[in-house]
């Protein structure tokens, strides 16, 4: 056994495994703190309930407030904020968004049920009378009901079984209805909410939160990409075929040395050409930004990427981002291990060329050479930087071509002290994580991102 691998003899600079900023717990803490503040507001703002109907209405108020609050956090998670992307990474953001999505839906549905049941009981009215009264007598409840229906459609379209049957663009279009739903739902909150309709701190804070979140969303997802695109005049320079069905797209512009991008990140690219301008697709930078060009590499599989090779040079580009948390922390001088599955190599290719190479290893797993792009470049980088590339090629049924903990360790004996970046399909990432755990690599040493459209 290599002595370097033993903890008590590990070199000083390798000791720093806390590279992953603890700030990743900050978003979770802020989320919970906000939830607690919502509960305090609810507790203090209205009188305690005296009857069973009152208790239902009391619970309805709380579910409504919580739904509104968590709906805002959903929007913030999706605002592509640099600070969140860096702290959490795409996979964690997606996972949180999925859980919170179901959670908000559950809160909204219980809010509707509790309000109706509570007022039915308090007013001793029938369901039909109460439903009519709620819709007719209270301002903006019609709007809110429309919002609930829209959110149910959004939720249903995101159930895995339904999602699979849909093209990404269709699903994404449906998902955008959630923003419309939130806009519609806002007005009934401040018009009827017992905690919000009186002029006071709670109302002011609530309106400010919603306005700020809306501004954040518009600024981050529409205004900023447009400004970046105009300022840097991003245009397609060339589309080059790689192996098989993989192409690289080079984008040029001016002042690209000041373009906010780092190796390991991705952008959502939108091409301003007939028929494509309305959809943006996430592709990783496959080369480290060098101040003169940006390059991304994509597999031509989906309906939209199929026309990618036909995008003419000179096409204007809007880049939304940067997104993703496959970032090298500044100051890291220890070993780095990159593990790529198939076209997941793209962000790792950029890191491979730019991260410090005290000890740098890339493990590149693929089913067949045609589906493993950029190998020539990787070999050249490895030679230039005295780094190591291991190719593990073969079908998933070939026992010789599988990765396992022992194999990873034999290829990079110091993996336990390394920063490990993993990128590939979701199943690839799920497959690799336990191997790293088995090798004693702590979760904070691992930065993983999977390719999925979300």
């Amino acid at each position: 056994v290599d002595v370097v691998d033993r903890p008590h003899t590990k070199p000083r600079q390798h000791a720093r495994t806390d590279y992953r900023p603890r700030t990743r717990y900050v978003p979770a803490a802020v989320l919970l703190l906000g939830g607690a503040l919502v509960i305090v507001t609810w507790w203090r703002n209205a009188a305690p309930p005296a009857t069973s109907g009152g208790r239902l209405i009391d619970a309805a108020r709380l579910t409504g407030l919580l739904a509104g609050y968590f709906a805002l956090t959903q929007v913030v998670l999706r605002a592509r904020l640099g600070v969140l992307e860096r702290a959490l990474g795409t996979d964690a953001i997606n996972a949180a968004h999925r859980v919170l999505g179901g959670y908000v839906l559950a809160l909204v549905v219980s809010h509707v049920a509790l309000v109706t049941a509570g007022y039915m009981r308090a007013g001793r009215s029938s369901f039909a009378d109460q439903a009519v009264s709620l819709l007719r007598d209270y301002p903006y409840v019609w709007w809110a009901l429309t919002a609930v229906l829209l959110l149910l459609v959004v939720g249903a379209s995101s159930a895995p079984a339904v999602r699979r049957t849909m093209r990404y663009e269709v699903w994404h279009g449906i998902h955008m209805l959630a923003y419309l739903a939130l806009a519609l739902a806002f007005f009934h909150q401040i018009a009827n909410g017992e905690d919000l309709r009186h002029h006071g701190t709670a109302r002011t804070v609530w309106i400010a939160l919603w306005a700020m979140t809306g501004a954040l969303l518009l600024g981050s997802r529409l205004l900023r990409p447009a400004v970046l695109s105009l300022r840097h005049r991003l245009v397609v320079d060339a589309v080059r075929p790689e192996t098989g069905d993989v192409v690289s797209v080079e984008v040029t512009g001016r002042h690209l040395d000041r373009f906010p991008a780092a190796a390991g990140q991705y952008f959502r690219w939108r091409f301003l050409t007939g028929g494509r301008w309305h959809s943006a697709h996430p592709y990783s930078l496959s080369a480290e930004p060098d101040g003169h060009r940006l390059r991304f590499t994509a597999t031509i599989t989906g309906r939209s990427s199929r026309s990618l090779p036909a995008v003419p040079p000179g096409t204007r580009v809007i880049a939304e981002g940067p997104c993703g948390g496959l970032l090298l922390p500044s100051g890291w001088t220890g070993p780095v291990v990159l593990i790529a599955g198939g076209v997941g190599v793209t962000p790792l290719r950029a890191l491979f060329a730019s991260c410090p190479n005290t000890s740098l290893t890339l493990i590149y797993r693929g089913h067949c050479p045609e589906r493993m792009p950029l190998r020539g470049e990787l070999d050249r980088i490895a030679e230039r930087r005295a780094a190591t590339v291991h190719y593990v090629v073969g079908s998933r049924h070939d026992p010789e071509a599988q990765l396992c903990a022992a194999r990873i360790e034999s290829m990079c004996p110091n993996v336990r002290h390394a920063l490990v970046f993993v990128c590939g399909s979701a199943s690839f990432v799920r497959h690799i994580r336990p191997m790293l755990a088995e090798l004693g690599v702590s979760g904070r040493q691992v930065r993983a991102e999977s390719f999925e459209l979300a």
Partner: protein, 151 residues
């Protein structure tokens, strides 16, 4: 999926617990539990003999002015009660539950009806106004509290 289910179950439990604690708090404060169980009766009933259930003559109130409030499920009722020469001479309605138009349409007439009735029978022992159960209860609770303090 499992995380989501756990989150929902935990939230439901927390909400149920919080609401129960709040309701328990409330039941200590409540001073007229009987009023809650009495079903809403027919409409306002000004001057009708049935509205006054007490046959005993009203007490002689010491003179003074008191502001009292009561919290209902729908908001606060705040009254300014003035007594003079042993009688209730004025009831000012400072606040009623419900800030929106619809609710105001219900609670303001109810409060006016209650005021007239109370000034007539000179006690807080009058029937609640149907259709405005909560407003009535809040009104009568705060009135009773004011009279109790004056006495």
């Amino acid at each position: 999926m499992r995380r989501l289910v756990m989150l929902i179950v935990a939230t439901a439990a927390v909400i149920a617990l919080l609401v129960t604690i709040r309701a328990a708090d409330r039941s200590d404060v409540r001073n007229r539990p009987a009023a809650l169980s009495s079903p809403p009766t027919a409409l306002p009933t000004l001057g009708s003999p049935s509205s006054s259930t007490s046959a005993v003559p009203p007490p002689h109130y010491p003179s003074g002015t008191v502001v009292k409030e009561d919290h209902t499920d729908y908001g606060t009722v705040r009254l300014k009660v003035t007594t003079k020469n042993g009688r209730i001479v004025e009831i000012g309605v400072l606040q009623l539950p419900h800030a929106n138009e619809v609710d105001r349409e219900l609670s303001e007439p109810a409060a006016r009806a209650l005021t007239r009735e109370v000034l007539r029978v000179q006690t807080a022992d009058v029937d609640i106004v149907s259709g405005a159960t909560y407003t009535s209860q809040g009104y009568l609770n705060s009135l009773q509290a004011a009279l109790d303090q004056l006495s």
